[in-house]
Symmetry: C2
Subunit: 221 residues, 2 copies
């Protein structure tokens, strides 16, 4: 009986499942930190201890990337980083547009992690006429009417959706019509989208609820 | 072979695992939406279809909450909401402090979902002397030196950490010393904390990476 959130099955031996891909992202974050700190080798045990996962799980995940480990020596960190980036499709630049230039949108625009991993926010959109035309981080805010045109000329594939809950569904549909292929949704709304558009929801309340649950659990024990 | 991110086992029959608790949060979000839209009953099948999970998984999760479903009728939405809120520890107010009053911090301060679920941000902190003393959403920004005193007098248990990566570890330690029992960390840093302090990391780059991975996968197929 699996308790993972993600019930999708792995379609091919070489493609990680969604949960597996999420773990690869976590490993990547650790490995990049260690590389910055000057380390060159790592064992699956070290990754396991840092992340609180099992050694066996780490080895299974890394085996999918090819024959990268050396028994008794471990993994060369730069090779592992390269292999994970390739498996996740991060060995290229991804261009994104951002819709909703409020505090959250502006925070994402300055979020250094996105740029470091090859994500580039190419254009900003807002429906508020007092925000349209303003410049943030060197980008001028467009009205939503320009979405289709700007997505086409910028080759954007991803959309960051940081509008409030109510307009989120309508804006998501506009993004889909404009040719955007994946939406990172911060609006607390369950979006309905064509199957051709991928969706990842960032529901910050769920994360806070999980924290409260764990705190409560630790008091009960 | 389980592929869930969370390898923790369920300790008691009545306590959901971490992954189970995350699913309960998702169900809660759906149920509240349906209740707002005027629905009173729901089947596990409807929840399953909305969230792309299996009907069997939903029924297993909801069975843990007690005998709430009626065969052929489904679940009464208000009862289910009440049971999930109780299981997650949301049938009370949780008081939080927020450290780092930049764009992300200000966005969280206005995030309505937190308040709706019983979370109350009671105090703001920042190390920047140009921000200390300013007021946002009716709250005055304190210097970090006041942390211990304010946590004590406000009965805060949770900390929202929205500082940049470098000072995050030091601030997290200050939060732990001040008596904070759970930290929602937005800094792209793996924090080391005493075992008594719960930690949930919100790594927005991981979410964006997962989206890119899914878009790439849908192109390959």
């Amino acid at each position: 009986m699996s308790t993972n959130l993600d019930t999708e099955q792995n379609e091919g031996e070489s493609k990680p499942s969604r949960a597996g891909a999420a773990r690869l992202s976590l490993y990547l974050r650790c490995l990049e930190g260690w590389l910055r700190d000057g380390s060159e080798k790592v064992s699956s045990k070290q990754i396991a201890e840092t992340l609180g996962l099992s050694d066996a799980q780490i080895r299974r995940d890394l085996t999918c990337l090819g024959n990268l480990g050396q028994p008794g020596v471990g993994y060369a960190i730069p090779n592992l980083i390269r292999a994970i980036r390739q498996a996740l499709g991060l060995n290229r630049t991804w261009i994104a547009v951002l819709v909703g230039v409020g505090n959250l949108g502006r925070a994402l625009l300055r979020y250094r992690g996105f740029h470091q991993q090859g994500f580039r926010i190419a254009a900003l959109f807002d429906s508020d006429p007092t925000i349209v035309g303003k410049t943030f981080e060197g980008l001028t805010v467009h009205p939503l009417e320009n979405l289709k045109e700007v997505v086409r000329t910028s080759n954007a594939e991803l959309g960051l959706l940081t509008v409030p809950g109510e307009p989120a569904q309508a804006v998501a549909e506009q993004l889909a019509e404009a040719g955007i292929r994946g939406i990172l949704n911060f609006a607390p709304t369950l979006l309905r989208l064509p199957k051709s558009v991928r969706l990842v929801n960032v529901d910050l309340t769920i994360q806070l609820e999980q924290l409260a649950y764990q705190v409560q659990l630790s008091s009960d024990n």
